[in-house]
């Protein structure tokens, strides 16, 4: 019988700064008068733009897959455009695959034995527009086209006639800050195999964050939008002892204003020292 024991949680918090305009698409305005072609996603209650955890998580996974050279072997959409992603399809590969361990595998249609108890390690929460940051105050006071967003007009030019096709694109302006973001990385002992791999794979999560800073989040990224930076970072470790009330404070693994300030290579040793086993 497979078993799973939680050995602790690594909690990464901080802020996400939109270095360039950010477009994470929402539902089109449809027939709204004055509705925009390509709106950004907004919180259903506050109507403020936000970053869905799914966008953040999916992009980090995709970048890590590419970084590790993992084959996009699983076809998840057959009709055009075909959509493929990487997902291990046997136990042996899975055990060696940081991407599938961190981000998980889907059960799929055919639940085979190997597919049982394959917990993903990572939780990524939605990130709201900061309520306290100076950038939000400035954004509130700026003359934006729509609340907290700019509508950028663009034109595609035909390369034979030079006729222009205007289009509009809603973006959260560069400089906006979303915070606090929170990612939770679980350290599991699966079937008594220990947590060495989970500790080792934690570095891949930070690698994915770094890759994301040099890529883009959301749409229109290859033409300017979506460059982000992680800021005001704090990485905590909460062991079993913390949850059981034996210690009152989580262990600070690292702090810094940028990813490079964190000294991620030291995290493994600090976690081991504070496991409390």
């Amino acid at each position: 019988m497979p078993n799973l024991m939680l050995k602790g949680k690594v909690i990464i918090t901080g802020a996400i700064e939109a270095v360039t305009g950010l477009h994470i698409g929402g539902a089109a305005a449809g027939l709204d008068i004055g509705g925009i072609d390509n709106p950004v996603i907004r919180h259903p209650v506050t109507r403020e733009p936000y970053i869905p955890g799914s966008s953040l998580r999916g992009k980090m996974r995709s970048l890590l897959d590419k970084h590790l050279g993992l084959e996009a072997n699983k076809l998840i959409q057959r009709w055009k455009p075909a959509v493929r992603l990487h997902e291990c399809d046997d136990e042996e590969k899975y055990l060696q695959c940081p991407a599938c361990q961190i981000f998980g595998v889907t059960p799929g249609d055919q639940r085979r034995d190997w597919n049982r108890l394959k917990p993903s390690r990572l939780i990524v929460r939605d990130v709201l527009l900061s309520q306290t940051h100076e950038a939000t105050r400035r954004l509130r006071e700026a003359k934006t086209d729509l609340p907290f967003t700019e509508v950028k007009w663009e034109a595609a030019i035909d390369r034979i006639t030079a006729a222009a096709v205007p289009r509009q694109n809603e973006r959260v302006p560069a400089g906006a800050v979303f915070s606090p973001f929170e990612m939770v990385y679980n350290l599991f002992d699966l079937n008594g195999t220990g947590i060495d791999n989970d500790i080792r794979w934690l570095t891949h999560l930070f690698k994915a964050m770094e890759l994301l800073e040099d890529d883009y989040l959301g749409g229109y990224g290859s033409r300017g939008a979506g460059k982000i930076a992680f800021r005001e970072l704090k990485v905590l470790f909460k062991s079993r002892a913390y949850y059981e009330g034996e210690i009152s404070e989580p262990v600070v693994l690292g702090e810094g204003n940028t990813l490079r300030d964190l000294n991620v290579s030291q995290f493994g040793e600090k976690i081991r020292q504070n496991l409390g086993d």
């Binding site: 700019e150 030019i157 035909d158 034979i160 006639t161 040099d214 290859s222």
Partner: protein, 459 residues
């Protein structure tokens, strides 16, 4: 992912528009500056909204007079102001792009569009098959209505016959008066490819590959998308397979409003003695005003190549050809080839038509191009560069050149290229493109619009 930071420097005025145009209802000219009025600031002075609305409903309203009448200085109510070359009067001012904090910048979309044009031009220039496809496609587009009518006549209302490739072949032969069976077959293949269909599949009876009469008639019917099949041929069949996915361009850093001014742009055309002169007709001067970035303005931006999309894994799906991959990897060279071609043609035109200021500018630009350091390149971006700097028009003119038929002339008629806006007519004897937009410095013609230099930053 390989990323390079570039410094972009404006070599001539650069106007990147927002789609918005300012008029006397939006701002006021005062002592050499243009002030865009911020209504919030107006109301903050205690102005009665109803009274203002009533005043603005009059066609004679102007902010300049309204403010003067109330002894309010434009500075008090301005969202921003810029030096302005002349009182705008009734001339609209094209707004230049800025971020929400009123800081101008160069959007990545603008740069990427210009780079895309250069890549399309370069690939087309070096690919004879692509040129043959483009020539046949454009001829089919020009005569699409005729072909459609012949299909209609031959099919006699039989839907199945209308979709028969053999009948399409007959219609093409008849419409284009083609004696050569091989050439007719090549046109048929081009028709199917331009419509995104597979001829062989259609011949086998695959219903998804059928071409309907409506498809034929609508081929190239929208001048805004005429080049699309050519771009698909050269860059990839759809956005997911498009070569330019590999290139990630960042929005530039912002710069200060000090780098922007409202400048005069005048349309120049050929006068009767063949000189390029400011256009004036029926007492009207063809002037416009634009918020532009001044020459020598400089901003940083990044260009990245997503190597993973050029790797072995991705290539199984994307299938970029070596020539396509090279075009991306040798981007500065590609852009400079295109720039050299545009500059050469523009220089030749302004020299032939006696426009010494522009000739001097293009001479300098050509010299600069000849001595660029490695990795640096020239682009023409934004509004006002003209047809030649925004299209692959020179290649189109070449490949449609024929001693027997004036196919390019037919293309011009079909797509209204060089149409006189007053008469809606095209003068086939006038050179195309005939007009040029000229940016002024003070009272003198000085520049073409939109030339920028990109230099990689060290380290």
């Amino acid at each position: 992912m390989s990323s390079t930071t570039y410094r972009l420097t404006c070599l001539s005025p650069v106007h990147i528009g927002t789609g918005q145009q300012w008029s006397k209802f939006d701002g006021a000219y005062h002592e050499g500056r243009w002030y865009v009025v911020d209504l919030d600031r107006v109301f903050a002075l205690g102005v009665d909204g109803n009274e203002l609305a009533q005043a603005m409903s009059s066609g004679a309203f102007s902010w300049a007079e309204w403010l003067r009448g109330r002894r309010i200085s434009p500075e008090q109510v301005a969202l921003y102001s810029l030096p302005c070359a002349l009182p705008p009067g009734e001339v609209y001012i094209r707004e230049g792009i800025k971020d929400v904090y009123l800081r101008p910048y160069i959007p990545a979309t603008t740069l990427k569009g210009a780079v895309r044009t250069a890549i399309v031009w370069y690939l087309l220039r070096h690919d004879e098959q692509a040129q043959a496809f483009t020539r046949r496609y454009l001829i089919l587009a020009v005569y699409a209505k005729d072909i459609g009518q012949i299909v209609n006549r031959l099919a006699k209302g039989n839907r199945q016959a209308e979709e028969d490739p053999q009948l399409h072949l007959r219609a093409i032969r008849e419409a284009l008066e083609l004696d050569d069976a091989q050439e007719a077959e090549a046109f048929l293949q081009t028709l199917y490819r331009a419509l995104g269909k597979h001829l062989e599949g259609a011949r086998r009876g695959d219903r998804y590959e059928r071409v309907r009469m409506r498809d034929i008639r609508e081929l190239g019917s929208d001048r805004r998308f005429l080049a699309l099949p050519v771009e698909r041929y050269l860059l990839g069949k759809d956005p997911n397979h498009d070569l330019l996915r590999v290139l990630q361009v960042g929005d530039s850093e912002t710069t200060s409003l000090e780098q922007m001014e409202v400048g005069l742009v005048w349309t120049y055309h050929l006068n009767q003695s063949g000189r390029l002169q400011p256009k004036r007709e029926q007492g009207m001067e063809y002037k416009s005003l634009a918020e532009w970035l001044k020459p020598e303005t400089s901003v940083r931006l990044s260009l990245r190549i997503d190597e993973s999309l050029l790797g072995e894994q991705a290539n199984k799906v994307l299938k970029f050809k070596p020539t396509q991959q090279q075009a991306i990897r040798r981007l500065p060279e590609v852009c400079n080839s295109y720039a050299r071609s545009v500059i050469g043609r523009q220089k030749e035109y302004v020299t032939r038509h006696h426009q010494p200021q522009l000739q001097a500018f293009y001479n300098q630009l050509q010299q600069r191009l000849d001595s660029l350091p490695g990795g640096a390149f020239l682009l023409n971006i934004g509004w006002g560069g003209g047809w030649e700097a925004k299209t692959v028009g020179d290649i189109v003119q070449e490949i449609l050149h024929d001693d027997d038929y004036d196919d390019f002339g037919e293309l011009r008629k079909r797509y209204k290229l060089g149409e006189n806006p007053q008469t809606n007519r095209i003068n086939p004897d006038a050179p195309f493109p005939e007009t040029r937009l000229v940016a002024y410095q003070g009272a003198a013609a000085a520049y073409p619009l939109g030339w920028v230099l990109l230099e990689p930053e060290k380290g």
